[in-house]
């Protein structure tokens, strides 16, 4: 079973490696951010699999923290894309 988990984790790593290409290529900043988002989720999945594959059980806590914080960079990015950097990307009204 451990080998199965580790194998899947390795495959996910491969897929992360592929997603890096999107971060590299862009073309827009949003594309790069999306690549990072997918890699973040992939990383969380790898952590869960590592925990299952006889790794430290607390790796799930790491996954929890990553899952919690993964969104932050994207939110910060979306925020900075507004005109003043302070508004809401969903609306053009400014404070």
């Amino acid at each position: 079973m451990n080998t199965w988990y580790l194998g899947l984790a390795a495959i996910l790593l491969l897929s992360i490696g592929a997603a890096l290409w999107r971060v590299h290529r862009g073309p827009s900043a949003a594309d790069r951010m999306m690549g990072a988002q997918l890699i973040g989720t992939g990383g969380v999945a790898v952590l869960l699999l590592l925990a299952a594959a006889g790794g430290p059980e607390a790796a799930i806590d790491v996954a929890l923290v990553l899952g919690l914080l993964a969104a932050f960079a994207s939110v910060a990015f979306a925020k900075t894309a507004t005109r003043s950097g302070l508004g809401d990307p969903e609306s053009d009204a400014e404070p």
């Binding site: 999107r22 989720t41 869960l48 799930i60 899952g67 969104a71 979306a78």
Partner: protein
Amino acid sequence: MSVLDLITILFTGAGTVFFIAGTAGLLRFPDTHSRLHALTKADHLGLGLIAVGLAVQVASPLLALKLLLVWGLAVLAAATTSQLIARVALPPHLERQKENAGQ
């Protein structure tokens, strides 16, 4: 091999497939918005299937809860960020339209 193991193998395997599909979409789809579409599949389904597949194996319910919480967080984060990223990625003329429609 027990039935549980079989379920785990099935779910985790399927989850991984969704991830690969999502990655392929992210790489191959022509424009930002369709790529975003592919991304959310991987986030929602890929991680979800893996989490469920592992949750049936764990001994303590607390651990299972944690696994599901990880998934829940990922879904929540993905939903929010894809919405926001989509908005950022809107070309200017579409943005104007959407604003008019919204008001």
